[in-house]
Amino acid sequence: MTTHVIQRSTAETTLMRQFELGKLSSSPRRADAFGRFTQRGLPTRRVESWHYTDLRAAMRDAAPLAPAPNSGAIEGAHKILGDRKRIAAWRIVLVDGRLIAELCDQLPPGVSFSREEPTPVDVDDPMVALNEAMSVEAHVLTVADDARIEGPIEVTHIATAKDACSLYSRVAILLGVGASAAFIESYLGAGPDVQRNSSTILTLAEGARAKHVVLVEDDAELHVESQIGQLAAGAELNAFALVAGGALTRRQLFYKLIGREAKVILGGLTLLDGARRADTTLQVVHAAEAGTSREYYRAIVDDEAVGTFQGKVIVENTAQKTDGAMKAQAILLSPRAQMNVKPELEIFADDVVCGHGATVGSLDPEQLFYMMARSLERDEAESMLLEAFGEEAIGRIEDDVLAKALREPFRAWLARERATRVGKGEIVPRESAS
């Protein structure tokens, strides 16, 4: 390895100081993870998987680590929960990265929850390593073999700090052989000075079935979320994410199908306005025979916002009979809105069916005209078309409760979007189209 003087960015220097001064550095495992982070540093556009999100440039500094929540913070979290319609049957609440037992429900039989030291994952990414090093707490949610849990379990990540702070959280979800359950992870409360780095590790044993939904509804300065999944033979996972807030959101998914006939369905709906940016980058590795993967991502991008979707499906030579399909679609509502789409297939087996497609465009003028010719005002016609576009994505989760959980923030975003478009004069219902 060549040695040269590494120019550390301000944020990297701050992160090193935070790690060394904190108590975390005494753990050899964390020290190892932090070493993996510093070796790479904050990702730049030279790293292919981070090409569209230059985090090193975007992160001027690392915000101070969030303190453990005091009674005021817990009270604040309580209020955030109270203002929100309850979706899930059972709820686990993390406040500023820490589990707050008094806000959590008793979990159903067959599900256990414990706090453990973070265990490394087989993913080579600096932000995943940083999360492993810095998460004060790591939690494991286990669904016992053959347990079938009706109704979703929600893990709510609440940010309460008013000032700039950084939050780390790490949750592992383990489904035993033949187990089935549904999960919601919601991110709430973060204001524009919050930097978040969250990891979720999903491990499905043979024949396990899970649905997993992520809701990003708050307005963090930075939301970096890694989802790392592994599916054994015959396991099936349907995971979906709705991104409705946040100045810079990076969701990165790393999935591996290690047993035959495993199936993973990944979907998402990203809603962008203003100068916001959101990047979804995923990798699915088919390492065993007869696996199925579906990726289905949609985005609505307005103003000067920038969306990114990068999807890479790798079919190893051991994964004959793989069936893969990836699709990314975006609607741009403004001439300055941008969407980067990069689907990739790397296939090392010869007997596979894999495909991908991508479309980026504006709302269809023929559809708008048809609807307006039947009396609908332009903004109402646009809203209906956008709602239909998002609903089609949401429908893929194939679960009424989870779809409802996704639909509410989606509709709220659409209503806000419609109001600002009318307010900005982009929609002038009483003037002729010139």
Partner: protein
Amino acid sequence: MMKTAGPMLEIKKLNVSIHGAPILEELNLTVRAGEVAAIMGPNGSGKSTLAYVIAGKPDYDIVSGEIRFDGENLLELEPSERAQMGAFLAFQYPVEIPGVATMTFLKAALNAQRRSRGEADLTTPDFMRRVREASQTLKIDQEMLRRPLNVGFSGGEKKRLEILQMELLRPRLCVLDETDSGLDIDALKVVSDGVNALRDPDRAFLVITHYQRLLEHIRPDVVHVMAKGRIVASGGPELALELERNGYRHYAEAAA
């Protein structure tokens, strides 16, 4: 609503082009309340352009001229405002809208029109009753109305749905753009019966067609012949029969 005396639809010296190519040239046309006017003409004569321009499709350049509906200049209005005033275009090719259930769309259209008149939204039972009644006469089953708008509908289903919308919205000016295309005899009968049921002294129809066949079912009061972007002849129903026998060639030459 105050109605101005005079024709319901009056088009004067209308010149329309697309990408610089003229399509309608100095077109004049008058349609009176209660009238069923047919417009016949060869392919490329500008019939569909006329229909789209009345409804307000944005792809066209209106070079000069005017279109007045009840005295109001339609060219200054958005398509939605024209529709709210009571103008309706039954599309030759109804547009598919995935993800929007037909019922949801029908309700949105009806309520948009009601709101423009300052009326309250329809209650769901009232809306359902209206749709049920109208769909029975047009032989539209309820299952079709739950599907996304026009998606996967046959040609006949799409045209029947256009007439259903016309029936629900009860426009005063109905423009039918080649509603007979893609219809078999039975569907043509159903659709024509639907149109005939709406004939009314306060309502006018502009029936655009290539063939005389439709006019056997929807009897016109007036027939206009269109060629090369203008009306070249007008007369009674006998004109349609003459066209059926002799074709458009004579008129196309006259317009040149």
